[in-house]
């Protein structure tokens, strides 16, 4: 055994949590040795290409696959006739009243409901050959009227997407608190508007990809998938394919971004599994970008009619909103069609006290790709609507936008606070974030800059947006309203193996968040080992008994909590074993940086030595001690309700009056995510979120024409911002008191996307204030901006 200095070194020991340690993931990803789904090459793999519906809405009368099937290299051609035999449909059920579930199937059965829906699958020896055969598949469609306008789709006489449902409205709910209608009617001042946030695509850089491998000997299926939710997919496929979970494993290796677009069950996932089992060979499908833009779940697409009542003192008195969500062709599994529009309503009151609130929500099916979760889920729309109304109100009563917010925030002594939709905020720095942004962005300086810019006739504006969100949601709430599956718990299993190596198993599925690093930081610090000695296993259903994945800003809070508890349990086992092996009292054992020592002596032991003694050197420990100190532990964590994360964003923009190009002059974020595990990673998450928020505000829109064709299915038409469009930005963190979650963490992966569109919409409205322009539609492309300004000028001229 080695010798080392002993004594109490706790205070001088370097902290791992809170440090920007370099990421564990990076060396492989920087050298081309990551393992994304399409990088997995299995011998004998067959490749799938899909014939996708070129109609938005059509009856499928006949399918002739015979010519395609005869092409050299083609192994099989399949339609719903075969797939419906091999699989059963999936329904996203809900506890919600007045909700109608719709089936999710591998291939369109009887009818195609959006342009891009998979209808026929060609399986061939290579992707090139599979694609060659597509042209030979003959499908006889009887076109039906395409429903593109969500308001028309609600009409009871509209053509129906599902003949067995009463209509196209899949969800209809009303809820609130107080007397919103009456207060609005009697209010001294009201502001209102119709707000439109168009459809968006998550557009992870890695297109979706799936590879199913069926082992005939063991009758076991492994699905390699670019998914955020391997656990949810596994638990669902068990029923779809009628296989035990022990024979079905889902592995999400390296995943090239998700943002919600890889958080649902997709038809192609079902298909590759069913065909791999049927053919006894590995079956792979990798989307190209066009397929991804056509068929990956999309988001937003809401029309919100909202009205806010304010007193002369700037206090918010009542808020009312009618929300119509266009949820596309089916109710997505497991989140349901209620997800996005219900969240818009749920979070609409924001971080403010508004005693009277009323929301009416409808989700309507149309002939578009399905709506699914996307970074922020609903809240980017809530923030856009409310923050716009607030600025309109401030203008109306002649108050500064910062001051009106200050007057209405839930205050320090008012937490926990229940807002009108029933959501409860726990203590979070609502006001502090605003004050920090005002100070750090030099709000007064910016206002002076604005005045001088305006004096020169330039269109310069400043916009603020504050929001709050629930993160790390525990088992008492559902991550999606009414969804029956539990997403509120996580477990961790950590073991010290017989070589002394530490492996920590989690159920989450990192796809850019760096969770292999942050969870290792937590385990290392809580257990007492060096960071480099912790191996994190995640993104694999074989790792833990139950898991769901990474979404809804939950992983750091819930998996971090499970890791903390488990590391603590295992630490005490190590210390107990050591006290026997080193013949010292438990209280005198120190365990830090992977070294076990007896305080005040020079007796030390490595983890490897301890593991060998426990596992291999029989007689080194009394039998009853050996039974107790098995070197593994497993614990659950459930934060019950979760916690509140908040931020204020400030944007300053300038509009070019000639080209209507928008330049972002300043972007500053102040946020409260509780205790920071890794500052660089947190900043990176905010930057990325803001960049997507900028895309949502100014560039990105999925456009369907009146026949239901998606005319934005390339990266030329669907504009993702590049380094030239995204401005430099600064992010500040509150050093606030940690919330009640274990470890004091709040979730923070989505927030950037929630605040940025609202802040930019407010900044644009401010820049165009002299023209009486109020921005009520996003994305505000140069063309839209031009039209809005033109309309405002025409009205002024009248």
């Amino acid at each position: 055994m080695s010798e080392a200095g002993a004594g109490n070194i706790d205070l001088t020991r370097p902290k791992i949590i809170g440090t920007s340690v370099k990421r564990v993931e990076d060396p492989r990803l920087l050298t081309g040795h990551g393992r994304f789904t399409d990088d997995v090459k299995l011998r004998g793999t067959l490749h799938v290409a899909f014939v996708r519906s070129d109609h938005a809405h059509a009856r499928i009368d006949a399918i002739d696959t015979s010519a395609a099937a005869e092409m050299p290299g083609v192994v099989g051609v399949y339609s719903a006739a075969e797939l419906d035999q091999m699989t059963s449909p999936v329904f996203a059920t809900s506890k919600m009243k007045d909700y109608h579930a719709t089936p999710v199937r591998a291939l369109a059965s009887g009818k195609a409901r959006f342009a891009g829906e998979p209808v026929v699958a060609v399986v061939a020896e290579s992707r090139y050959l599979a694609e060659d055969a597509l042209a030979l598949v003959d499908i006889d469609y009887a076109p039906l009227e395409a429903l593109v306008d969500p308001e028309l789709a609600c009409d009871e006489n509209a053509v129906k997407l599902y003949d067995d449902l009463p209509g196209n409205v899949l969800v209809s709910r009303s809820f609130g608190m107080g007397e919103a209608e009456a207060v609005l009617a009697a209010a001294p001042q009201t502001v209102s508007g119709r707000f439109r946030f168009h459809r968006k695509s998550p557009t992870a850089l890695e297109p979706r990809a799936y590879l199913a491998d069926y082992d005939q000997g063991s009758r076991a299926l492994t699905l390699y998938a670019s998914t955020q939710v391997p656990g949810i997919i596994r638990d669902c496929l068990v029923d779809v394919l009628d296989m035990p979970g022990s024979k079905l494993r889902v592995i999400a290796g390296d995943v090239g971004g998700g943002f919600g677009g890889k958080a649902s069950l997709n038809p192609e996932e079902i298909l590759v599994c069913a065909l791999a089992r049927h053919l006894g060979r590995p079956v792979k499908w990798t989307a190209d970008r066009m397929e991804d833009l056509l068929s990956t779940s999309q988001s937003f697409d809401e029309i919100v009619d909202a009205e806010l009542a304010v007193g002369e003192d700037g206090r918010f008195l009542a808020l009312k909103a009618d929300i119509l969500g266009d949820v596309g062709a089916f109710s997505i599994y497991p989140w349901t069609a209620a997800l996005e529009p219900m969240q818009v309503a749920g979070f609409l009151p924001g971080p403010y006290k508004i005693e009277n609130f009323q929301a009416n929500v409808r989700a309507v099916a149309t002939n578009k790709a399905p709506m699914g979760p996307y970074r922020g889920v609903g809240r980017p729309i809530s923030a856009f609507v409310l923050e716009r109304l607030i600025d309109m109100a401030a203008k109306k009563i002649g108050m500064d936008p910062a001051e009106i917010r200050r007057r209405n925030f839930v205050r320090e002594d008012e937490f926990p606070h229940k807002i009108g939709s029933g959501i409860v905020w726990d203590r979070s720095g609502f006001l502090d974030c605003l004050e920090q942004v005002i100070e750090r962005a030099d709000y007064d300086g910016l206002r002076r800059h604005r005045e001088s810019a305006r004096a020169e006739g330039r269109w310069f504006g400043i916009g603020l947006a504050s929001y709050a969100e629930l993160t790390g949601i525990g088992s008492r709430l559902s991550a999606a309203p009414g969804m029956p599956i539990n997403t509120g718990t996580e477990s961790a299993t950590i073991q010290v193996d017989s070589s002394g190596a530490v492996t920590a198993h989690f159920g989450i599925a990192s796809h850019g968040q760096g969770l292999e690093t942050t969870l290792a930081q937590i385990v290392a610090e809580e257990m007492g080992v060096r960071l480099e000695d912790v191996e994190v296993v995640q993104g694999d259903t074989a790792a833990v008994a139950h898991s769901t994945g990474t979404y809804a800003s939950r992983s750091a809070v819930i998996a971090g909590g499970a890791g903390t508890l488990t590391a603590r349990t295992l630490r005490s086992k190590v210390i107990e074993a050591a006290s026997h092996l080193l013949e010292a009292d438990v209280k005198d054992i120190d365990f830090a940086e992977s070294l076990i020592s007896v305080r005040g002596t020079n007796k030390t032991m490595s983890l490897r030595e301890l593991a060998r003694a426990v596992y291999s050197q029989m007689g080194s420990l009394p039998a009853e001690v050996r039974a107790k100190v098995d070197l593994q532990a497993s614990e659950f964590y459930d934060p019950h309700f979760g916690t509140t994360t908040c931020a204020t964003h400030l944007a300053a923009v300038e509009v070019d009056p000639e080209t209507y190009k928008v330049t972002i002059h300043t972007f500053v974020v102040s946020e409260d995510c509780g205790r920071v595990i890794n500052p660089l990673i947190v900043d990176g998450q905010v930057h990325g979120g803001v960049a997507q928020g900028i895309g949502a505000a100014l560039f990105e829109e999925v456009v369907y024409d009146e026949t239901g064709q998606n005319i934005s299915a390339s990266l030329v038409d669907y504009v993702v911002p590049s380094a030239a469009e995204v401005p430099p930005m600064t992010v500040h963190h509150l050093d606030a008191l940690a919330p009640s979650t274990l470890g004091g963490y709040r979730g923070m992966g989505e927030g950037g996307t929630i605040g940025a569109p609202a802040a930019i919409a407010n900044a644009l409205s401010d820049a165009l204030g002299h023209l009486d322009v109020e921005i009520s539609e996003l994305p505000m492309t140069p063309e839209r901006l031009f039209r809005v300004v033109e309309a405002a000028q025409a009205q002024k001229g009248e």
Partner: protein
């Protein structure tokens, strides 16, 4: 079926002599024939830049090239930079500055940045952003990528190279 063509080229310093279909894309050749899966494919239509490699020292989009167009060329992919145990200085800067999250855009970013570093003495942030604007990243918001490449330029200046 189209006949196969002989293709001779060097990739990361290694000579290859293969028979390929004329329609085979360079990106697919690298990924499927040579198993160099570090070159990623994000769009297959020339916009995202994930598939960027160096062809005789110039950055090109390998999804827009046929493999046979690389006949007689020297191709450098991300696997030709540093290794897991010994990152090169640009890769090291990416790691230090947290310039990657999911890592899908990273190989293309590194190849474009390598090209910029080899052809420019200095670049302002604005020029850098312009220079990187053909490579999309959906995760980082570019802030840390710009700092990493800026730092790589500073280092280069320091070396006097």
């Amino acid at each position: 079926m189209s006949g196969k063509h002989r293709l001779q080229l060097r990739v990361n310093g290694v000579a290859h002599d293969r028979e390929v279909e004329p329609r085979l894309l360079l990106s697919d050749f690298l990924r499927d024939e040579l198993d160099l899966t570090g070159t990623h494919v994000g769009c297959e239509h020339g916009v995202c830049g994930a598939c960027t490699v160096l062809l005789n020292g110039d950055s090109v989009r390998s999804c827009l090239c046929l493999a046979i167009q690389a006949e007689g060329s020297e191709v450098t992919t991300v696997e030709g930079l540093g290794s897991v145990d010994q990152l090169n200085s640009l890769q090291e800067k990416f790691r230090e500055h947290h310039a990657l999250q999911c890592g899908f855009c990273t190989p293309g970013m590194l190849m474009t940045a390598t090209d910029l570093l080899s052809k420019n003495k200095q670049m302002s942030d604005e020029e850098l952003r312009e220079g990187l604007s053909g490579n999309l990243c959906r995760c980082t918001g570019y802030e840390h990528i710009v700092s990493a490449v800026r730092a790589a330029f500073a280092d280069k200046g320091g070396d006097g190279s």
